[in-house]
Amino acid sequence: MLSLKHFQLLQCVGKGNFGDVYLAHYLGNSLDPTDPVIPRGVPLAIKCINLEHSTEPIDLLLKEIYFLSTLNCQHITHYYGTFTGDCNLYIVMEYCSNGSLLNLLRYYSRLTEQTTCFIISQVCHALDYLHEKRLIHRDLKAANILLNDDGEVRLADLGVTGQLKFNSTRHGGKNLNTFVGTPFWMAPEIIKNQSYDGKCDIWSLGITALELLNGKPPMSHLDSMKALMRIPKLNADNILRNMDISPLGKDFIRQCLQQDPHQRPTCKKLLQHKWLRKCSITNVMEEITIMKTNQIMSKEKPRLCQPRFPLADKVYKTNFPNQLESWSFEEESVRKCGVLNNIPNLYNDNDITIDDKSPSLNKQQLRNSNLSTPTSALSPSSMQVSPKTNLSTPATEHYEEINSPLSCPKRNSDFENQSIDYWKHVFLFSLKKVKQRAINEPTKETIQSLTTYMENLEKNFPGLSEALVQEISTRVAKLNSL
């Protein structure tokens, strides 16, 4: 079975609402015959969805995976397989090193008619493939069109793809009415809440063509609500009138942007359109090369992403029980109940290989960094003071407690039976500990005066310690998890 240990995760290359995307390599030591065939030594994109935080129901995510797995088209990002680990879903996809078309638009502001024509024809092939399978993309836009290493076009992000029913008789072939997509690219029939079919992708294709030619989709100066109201009145001629493109190009876009979906041509028809047929280039390598060279010359650094859900932030942590409470069940009956026997810890994928350049964090730090909730301030070790100055190294005995959290209450009677007093139980406690670590008198005195000072502040501004403790622990956790 595929798992995280079969991959080497390099840097985070993108993030979205769904989770983070990592660049990765397949290490290929899975022996399971049902595992997908994944090329070795080829860069891969691994989309990591945190299911514990995802608001999307699992069923919908599964649906997307099933869609992806039924596709085998050279113009759509290739899907290799999926696996789980901790609470994450990892989807292994083809990696498109040159990112989305937005990168090109950011650099060039607008694309030439020839480049646009090529991209649109490639996307049209992808849409034709989807429509053939009665699938509709529903979120076509430049941001969802990627460029691979060779400057070839790949349609991506099938997150809101919809499946049309096969029996077109009852609904006249149009049986979707979910309101999805991105406002500026959305077809009028979706906005008007009518049922729709693949023709809504054709509309978005026209808008995307305008986006590539002008740098922005029409009406992007408006806020999305206003744009939504205007789209059902959008007149392609008004937009095209002042644009400097060939009559063929105008005709193509005009055909896509017809208000009546029935009037819009199918992908097959569009692929026969002269504008696409006379397209002479086979990739956008030239544009990419120029852009990259100039970026290197101007020493512009490629943008690095900070993952939204760092992989070290696990729900099921190594050395922690999977349960928060240890219930009292009689040994006898627990043993009798076959199911409860030996529940294995399935989630500890602690053999992840994250190849970041930062100095390796020791296990203790990583573990502490996971406690990012405010209450984590309770654990003394989450506020480790690095012994930079004349302070001795922390004694290890304090940190053992954290390994067996459920036994903590027994030892720290302070915390029993009462709510947490951040000043007394956390701040003062820590200051005392720091004082113990001080090796000379001046340091001890400094800490004592700090204690007195803080005590006064806390008296005058109750809650100050609490806020400080929370902020410090959140920050430490954040830094540790980078």
Partner: protein, 364 residues
Amino acid sequence: MAFWWKKSPKTPSDYVKHLIEQLDKLESSPTVSDNRKKAQDECGRQIAGTKHFLLKETDPVPTQEALDELYYSIYQSDLFFTLLHSFSNLDFEARKDVAMIYCICLGRSKDNKLPTVDYLLAKPKFMSILLRTSETCITKPGGSDIFLTASGMILETIKQEQLCRIIIRDPQIWKYFDFTRLGSFEISSSSLQVLTELFTAHPKLVSTEFFSNEENLNRFIDKINKLMAHGNYVTKRQSVKLLGTLIFNRINKNLMTTYINSSDNVKLVMILLSDRSKNLQLESFNIFKVVVANPRKSKPVLDVLVKNRDKLLNFFEQFGVDNKDSTFLDEKEFIVEQIEALPRIVAANGEYALGTSPQKNLVM
């Protein structure tokens, strides 16, 4: 592809005949050979052509008579049997097309009848072969993909109540519980999806014809408990949700009373209730609340609850604190009241004494 039908103007039934001949050729040719590849390609073309015809995507659009004739010959020749037999030997796209053809046929309605459903009802063996197709491919390369496509066909079949009745009687369905624990993620999640559809699509049918049988009932509980205890994160969440849905439906009173009166089940639910995953906690709470709200708890269940009275109260202090949903809050309040009303155990030995003093759980 549009010209496929035009190329040789035969009748639709000739095409079915031709397809079956090609499938025979595919089966009879050696595993690695040019002939086989040729037969595979030809099958793919024929299957795609049939799909386009059924979808009325050919030019000219087929007449209703031609369509009826095609359907008729599909039934007459038992084409679905032949297609399933060669399923794993077809190529990627052809398999998807087979699934699509099957789905189109299933949904066909004529004179207020569903002819394909009636046809399949007369051939219950098909259901049994369909359910077993997934199993045969599980160890083959590309197995996930075949499994997913076959599951898609099963899901469509389940939607038809009469066909679902045949499936639910097939002992093969128990295997789907095991499939969720082996093989790739796609195999495990789609098996669970099949089970979810199977047990929830037609509640009345499942309740009167499946859970009414005590043996089925106990076996189901045993199987779903295993998924809840040992599955991966997705399996756990989906299986707890499935059980919750079933228990919450009044029609499954039988299942509910049996489930919530066994202390072993309650222990498992409590373990999941205190799981580190907030989502699993919430899903398990939906089952646990039924356990606690039950006015006639069995002695063993009551014992478990009483023994953990203080731990539970302590646990619920922290449980779902950031949840603002008013229904949830009401339910939680009610559950806490019920637990408070449970008798306290007077400290008798060390172990119990520990439980009587409320503790703060330090690592929430």
